[in-house]
Amino acid sequence: MTEKKVVFVIPPEHIRHFGKVLQVLTKLGEEIYIESIAKTNGLSFRTANQARSSYSCITFNRDFFQQWPQDDLQKEKIKCRISAKRCMSALHAALSSKLTRLELIFDDLASDLSFILHCRYNIIKVHSCFYIDCEKLQARFDKLSYKNCVSVMSKTLQELTAHFPAKWDEITICVTKDQFIIKKCDEIVRDDDSVAVGMNFQVVCEPREFLSYDIQYQSDITFCLREFKFLLGLADLLNLPMTMYFDSRGRPIVFYFDAEELHFDGTFVFATIANREGETDPSISMTQSSLNDISTMEEDDLVSYRQCTMITNGTNQGGKKRSALSSSPTLQTNTNPMDRQSNFDEHNISINPKQKIVATTTELVDTTYTVFSQQSMVGLQQSEDFMADMTDDEDEEN
C-alpha cells in the first residue's frame, strides 16, 4: 500500500444501506476483511465466523460511492482487516444520526481506517480503528456446480422463517421438485441409542412462492439458524431476490443477492451438516457416505485449509485446489443413493462414537473441526497471486 491516504466517499442516500449491510457482517464474524478489487472496480467487505462455518462477502461497486480514489486501484491495493467491534460502533454512530456525508479514509502511514461522519449542525465525528494488512479471505465454492438453484424475494423468506425462534441452533430445508419444506426437527437420543423425535415444526411451500425453482436433486440439508437470521435481517432494508444454491448434505449452501440499482451485491456461504445427528449429542455420526466425501478430498487441500484459517503466511497450494473442485460434482453423485436412504431412515440412525473417532484420526488430518456439530466444508484459500504479490512487494522494498 502507498503512502497516500485512500479516500472513499459515500453519498447520504447510500449511507443507510452501507451501515445496515455492514452491521450484518459485524454480527457474523469477529473481523472484517476489506479488499479492493481492481478488475471490477469494487470494494469488498468479507468476514468468516470463528468456526469457519460461515463466510460472507459484500462488494460495493464504483457507482455506490460518490468519490473513488483518484489513482488506479491497481497500485493502491487495499487488503486489510479491522476489528468488527470497532466497525460496529462506527456504523452505529453513522446510523443513529442523519449524515450529510460519510468518508472512509485508509491511512497507510498510521495504519488506520477512519470513518468520518459529517453530521448536521456542522458537527464532524471521526471513528478510527487500526487495521492489519493481511491476505485475502476467500471461500472455495462454485455457484455453477450446484444442482439446485432457487430464487425467492428476501422478504418472503424472512416471513417464512420469522417464527423460528433464534435460540434454536439449526434449520433444515427439505426440497423436492414439488415442495420446499423449512423445518426444525427435535431429535432426542436416549441412553439406549434409540432416537425419539420431539417437536416437529415446519413450513411447507409450493414452487410458485419462488421466483425461480430449479431442483434437480432432492435435498435435505441443515445449517445454522442464527446466522441465517442475521442474513435475513437485511430483508428489512432491501426486498431483493435472493438466490440459494445447494444440493447435498455437507456441501455448503450459498445465498446470493445483487442490488443492481444500489450497486452492491452479497454472497453468504453457510456450511451444512454432513449427516443428521441427535439434537442433544454434539458428536457427529459418520456414515460411510460422508466418510467418502472427505476421504476423496486431497489431503493437501485440508492441510492448506487449516493453515489458512490460522491466517499465517502459508505456501500457495493453488494448483492442487483446482483439481479438488472439479472432482466434487462427481463426488456428489456417488453419495446420492446413500443420502436418500438416510432421509427415510432418519429415526434409526445410531451414533457410534467409536466409529467417529477412528474415522477422524485416519481420514481427517485435523480433528478439531469435527468437534463442532457442523462439519465445516468451506475451504479457505490463499490468494492465487499471493506468491506473486509477495515478490512484488519485496521488489518494491528493494
Binding site: R86, A93, C119, I123, I124, K125, S128, F130
Partner: protein, 315 residues
C-alpha cells in the same frame, strides 16, 4: 400558603395541624423552611451532581447551594434560587453535610414514573417541604406528599467539612464556549466513554472545538466549528489542549439531559468550569456547575474554606 391543599380529609388536616403546631412550638429553633410543589425539580438537579456519597447543603439568602466533591479533582455545585421555591423562609444561614443518596431516595419515595419512549422521568405532583432546625442534633426533616399521603423523612446530618477551592480565575479565562444542550448532547452521544481520558482542543482555526477519546484499537473524536448552530458563543484567546478524565464527561452528559444551555470555560491553569442552565417550572433558572482539574497536571489544591458569606453559628 399551604402546599397540602390538594386533600380535604380531616385526618390529613389534623396531621398538618400537628406539624404546624410543632413548628410553632419549636419555631425558635427552626433555621430554614422551603417548600416546592414538585419534588422532581429538586430531585433532578440533585441527580446531576450525584457522584459522591456526601454533599454539603448551604441555605443562603439567595437560595440553596449544594456542593458535592469527588476526591479525584471534581466539584459539583447546584444553585437553586429562592424564586424557584414556592416558599422560602430563612432565619439563619445554615450549612451542613448530608448523605446525598438517602435524600434522593426520600425525594423519590413515591416512585419515579418513566416515560416509556424516552425513559426520562415524568413530572409528578409530589410536593416537598424541607425543614431544618439550627441544632445539628436535630435531623433534616423532609415531608413529601402525594394525593393526600404524607411521608415524613428524618435524615441525620453530619458535620460540616471544608470544600476545595478550585481558585477558578474568572478574570483570566482563556476560552469560553456556550452550546445548546440538546445539540451538544447529540455531538457527545457516540464518543467512546471507555477511554481513559478525553482530550480537549480549542483553537481559533478550524476545527474550533474538538474532543478526542483514545480507546484501545482506535479513537473517536467530535469536531464542532464556530459557525455551527449548536454553538452560541465562542471565545478563544489562546489555544487550549488539555486532557480530562472521561468520567467528567459522563457527568456532563447527565446534566445535559435536563439543561437547556451549557457553558464551558477554561482558565489559564487548565481548570474547566462547566455550567448548565436548567429551567424547571418557574421562569427563574437553576444552575449546576462542575469544576474539573486537568489530567496529568494535578495541582495540590489548598484546603481553604469556601470563600462565601456563610457563617455557621455554633452554639
Amino acid at each position: 400558603m399551604s402546599l397540602f391543599d390538594t386533600h380535604q380529609e380531616d385526618t390529613d388536616d389534623e396531621e398538618e395541624n400537628n406539624v404546624n403546631e410543632q413548628e410553632q412550638t419549636d419555631s425558635a429553633d427552626v433555621a430554614f423552611v422551603a417548600k416546592l410543589k414538585s419534588s422532581r425539580t429538586l430531585a433532578s438537579i440533585l441527580k446531576t451532581i450525584d457522584f459522591a456519597d456526601d454533599a454539603i447543603f448551604c441555605a443562603l439568602t439567595t437560595g440553596v447551594k449544594i456542593i458535592v466533591e469527588d476526591k479525584q479533582c471534581v466539584q459539583g455545585n447546584a444553585f437553586i434560587d429562592t424564586r424557584v421555591f414556592d416558599s422560602y423562609e430563612l432565619v439563619r444561614q445554615v450549612r451542613f453535610r448530608f448523605h446525598l443518596e438517602t435524600v434522593l431516595n426520600c425525594l423519590n419515595i413515591f416512585g419515579v414514573p418513566l416515560d416509556p419512549v424516552t425513559h426520562e422521568p415524568l413530572p409528578t405532583n409530589v410536593a416537598v417541604q424541607i425543614h431544618y432546625r439550627e441544632n445539628q442534633t436535630h435531623p433534616l426533616q423532609l415531608y413529601l406528599e402525594e394525593d393526600g399521603v404524607i411521608t415524613e423523612c428524618l435524615i441525620k446530618v453530619l458535620d460540616d467539612t471544608d470544600t476545595i477551592d478550585f481558585d477558578f480565575q474568572t478574570e483570566n479565562i482563556v476560552s469560553k464556549v456556550v452550546f445548546k444542550a440538546s445539540g451538544f448532547k447529540e455531538a457527545l452521544s457516540e464518543i467512546d466513554l471507555k477511554a481513559d481520558c478525553i482530550e480537549l482542543f480549542i483553537t481559533q482555526d478550524v476545527p474550533h472545538f474538538r474532543l478526542i477519546a483514545n480507546g484501545c484499537g482506535g479513537s473517536t473524536s467530535v469536531d464542532i466549528t464556530q459557525d455551527s448552530p449548536v454553538m452560541d458563543t465562542f471565545l478563544c484567546t489562546e489555544p487550549v489542549h488539555n486532557r480530562y478524565k472521561t468520567q467528567f464527561f459522563q457527568y456532563i452528559l447527565r446534566a445535559l439531559s435536563i439543561a437547556s444551555k451549557l457553558s464551558l470555560r477554561i482558565d489559564a491553569a487548565g481548570i474547566l468550569c462547566a455550567q448548565f442552565l436548567i429551567y424547571t417550572e418557574k421562569d427563574k433558572p437553576s444552575l449546576v456547575e462542575y469544576f474539573f482539574g486537568p489530567d496529568e497536571e494535578v495541582h495540590e489544591h489548598e484546603q481553604n474554606t469556601q470563600p462565601s458569606d456563610i457563617v455557621l453559628v455554633e452554639d
